[in-house]
Symmetry: C2
Subunit: 508 residues, 2 copies
């Protein structure tokens, strides 16, 4: 591997250190069959509808360079509208790799993306936070550091993320620098890049260059970024600019329509999927125009719109159906797939948050999702990231990590023999098989209370959110920053300081 | 249909009335593919292990008449241990119908059990309640009436249940009479029968006779009852006595091992399933010895035991895997299948309750469960039934009812045409397709808050449990008892009074 060769013994030492620290669970290697909701005929109907949308209605690319690229590739371009023949589209989509390695600065935490692997990333993009006091307020860089530390300390989270909350205390033009620096400093897991402007994406690529070495970054994915399609059928200039920067740098982009089903899509489950499939594929094809073979992830963000208030909803049956269909489509195109896991509209970490998150998440796992964003912390339809929710969600990802591995048959005969050994009316605690396997056999959530009522009462009759906050406090007290070579840390800081000299203290 | 013939115009009038009242959703007709977690080879390994358990280890039947029946059928009986050759077992199991109609006193609420149908029944068997004041205390007959009324009023609950809470204010020997009377009076949905003693089961069959006519009851399933295997591998005299009464009366019994995985089964997911499969099949075969062809339901109650405290846990990955495997086994034997849905160990209706219930429930639906018990109200591992939880759960069953119907393709082309109509950058609220389909397109939970933070705050910043209690109050205020012919009501009451004369005021 290029990187190991370049860094030699130092990389090996870092790897050993990473493994000795808090264990990150490896990417989940799913051994459950993927749940195929559609038969071949319906899958092809969806595909065909998406192709017709792109061929006949077309899709807007609000960027001159993008339009020129499409024209050169043979698409029909009329003002900003691009109509893409399916042969061209599929030829471009086929250039994208079906799996790739996403490198972390700690090689033990690098991730295989695609195939039967699933990785979990925390919540992303909330302006508001609820921290220890439970009050809702704007997020700060200090809050963001807390989430980056907790992502580092959560075994089932495979990425640090990026803007888990917006650090609203920093001016927008400089914010991306500090977000990226915080992610790099506080965790050695994979981080995400900014997309709010092409030059900010360039800054992040340069910071990655300082961290990994520019040569390594030129050859290997070391960060992942999220661009959203402005549904229906608009790729705007900002997103295309960021996408182009990352694609040309060989850095993977999650190409995600932002779906509010019923508002910016039809009031139909399969037609919503047909539209978002068209949007995602058009973006993915464009990335391949920018740099053939660059890694991309087929993305989606899904909410359904309440008929009463227009508010986004999560965890409903229709969203489950959509996720199941999208997973099947992504596999049809041989692309890694990203979805959004622990979503809820609840303002707080109450029962609604639990129901909606779980009902939203499980279909995504069974549908074979490769990268699950918003796996921890999301509340209030993403407007607020909550500390309590973050802790509970992150632990549930560890539960799903077990589920996804499927039933273990390795010790099946020995376990069945224990039934004969115990016979009618006994219990199994004393058998050799139980003594050997009990601890590993059944997942237990530390943050859930399954003790007796009396014990729960004696311990303060707290709800899950209260226990989660206490656990967050304890975990943060034990936090140690993962080692970062001082020269690298200094170079990153110097880069940030220098860039800030050229960036305004206000504005968008 | 026998019953329609017997009751003529009266039944027709009742049917019309039933349909005009609060709409009960019909049994869910699943159009999603069942999720098959095991390949053929592993499914057969499980089956074979169950057969070996019954052939070699055997299972205890703690009842003289049962042992005599097994001996006469050709099983090897040694004291209370019965070893059942697989040919005999499978021949008996094959006698059970794969689907049957469970009649409600309102024919519009009768249920098809089996095949691709799923019905939801409320929680069952809790000694404690949490009602409007949120305090945990013993249940009473008055509390029970509240749950029976709410089951009646919940569109996605298909049965009234029975002992949603134990009416602890009544002496045990008389309790079953009042539980059954309450269920019959307060709802015209399907009810469940008592199993705490054979003579109590007989009382319930006689009450059903008063309600439906003895001739009708002799020919048709009109109630469903739950018997539990005392795992590992013990069918006790009480349960066998009740099972025998119902089987001989032609009334369906849910034959359910009570599994605390790791304690009364091996510390292994597939071996736990192999054991409970053996237990369920032995009970089902016994029912067929009592009355060949009598309707039965393959049942299971599943919890996993915490390695730390020995407490039961719900909603974990291992339980999901078990439910998926059990569903597949039940289909292999052509039997309707019952599982337990909205389980949680949480003492209250908090986030834990939401996560655990949802993660426990969804695999059960995808695995093709036919009768889901504990669909509403369960908290504290079943020790407490909660009013708030009942309301939230019951509404989520309506959500799953939508999920289970799968994606609707009927209007697919019209919906895709709306994408062309709107084009890039618009919204869909104005399209003809959206106007026609919006209301029905996306499920919205009335008890979940997806409004803005500001609106939520203005409305009192309540959590989901608080809103659920308010909704329960409003719903109960609008409750009207379903009509019951005065002569029938009087006859039922007279039966209860007369039986009470012969039953002690205390004891078990």
């Amino acid at each position: 591997m290029a990187r190991e060769g370049r860094r030699g013994g130092r990389a090996a030492r870092r790897e050993a250190r990473g493994r000795a620290e808090i264990g990150m669970l490896p990417p989940l290697e799913r051994r459950l069959p993927v749940y195929e909701i559609l038969d071949e005929e319906r899958l092809e109907r969806l595909h065909d509808a998406s192709m017709r949308i792109l061929e006949e209605t077309g899709i807007a690319f609000q960027d001159g360079e993008a339009l020129a690229l499409w024209r050169a590739a043979g698409a029909a371009v009329e003002e900003q509208r691009v109509r893409i023949p399916r042969a061209l589209l599929l030829e471009l989509v086929a250039r994208a790799p079906s799996r790739f390695t996403l490198h972390a600065r700690n090689p033990a935490r690098s991730l295989e993306i695609g195939g039967n692997r699933t990785v979990f990333f925390p919540s992303y993009g909330s302006p508001f936070v609820r921290m220890f006091d439970g009050e809702r307020r704007y997020g700060t860089l200090e809050d963001l550091a807390v989430f980056h530390k907790l992502a580092h300390l959560s075994p089932a989270l495979h990425g640090t993320g990026a803007v888990t909350c917006e650090p609203v205390d920093l001016p927008v033009p400089r914010r991306h620098l500090h977000v990226t620096l915080s992610a790099i400093r506080h965790s050695d897991k994979v981080f995400m890049g900014p997309v709010t402007a092409p030059e900010r994406a360039e800054d992040a690529v340069r910071m990655a260059g300082i961290l990994f070495g520019e040569g390594f970054v030129a050859e290997n994915p070391v960060m992942v970024s999220l661009v959203n399609c402005n549904s229906p059928l608009v790729w705007d200039g900002t997103m295309l600019g960021a996408l182009r920067v990352y694609a040309r740098a060989g850095q993977p982009v999650i190409v995600s329509p932002f779906t509010m089903a019923g508002a910016n899509t039809p009031a139909s489950v399969p037609a919503t999927v047909a539209q978002l499939n068209a949007e995602a594929l058009a973006g993915i094809a464009f990335a391949q125009l920018c740099r053939p073979g660059c890694p991309v992830i087929y993305g989606n963000f899904l909410a359904a719109v309440s008929m009463r208030s227009g508010a986004p909803m999560a965890g409903t049956g229709e969203l489950a159906l959509m996720n199941l269909m999208i997973g099947q489509l992504a596999r049809r195109y041989g692309l890694p797939w990203r979805s959004s896991g622990m979503l809820t509209g609840s303002k707080i970490t109450d029962a609604q948050a639990g129901y909606e998150s779980a009902f939203n998440m499980l279909p995504i796992l069974l549908a074979g999702c490769n990268l699950v964003m918003h796996s921890a912390g999301w509340t209030e339809a993403g407007l607020t990231v909550g500390l309590a929710k973050f802790m509970l969600d992150a632990e549930q990802m560890a539960m799903l990590h077990r589920l996804g591995q499927g039933p273990r048959f390795a010790d099946f005969e020995a376990a069945v023999a224990a039934v004969a050994e115990v016979g009618p009316g006994g219990h199994f605690f004393g058998t050799a098989h139980t003594r050997e396997h009990f601890e590993a056999a059944f997942f237990m959530a530390e943050l859930f209370d399954n003790n007796s009522f009396e014990q729960w009462q004696a311990e303060g009759a707290r709800d899950a959110a209260g226990r989660a906050l206490e656990a967050a406090r304890a975990r943060l007290a034990a936090y140690e920053a993962p080692a970062l070579e001082p020269a690298v840390a200094e170079a990153l800081l110097a880069f940030v300081r220098k860039r800030e000299e050229h960036l305004p203290e206000g504005g968008e």
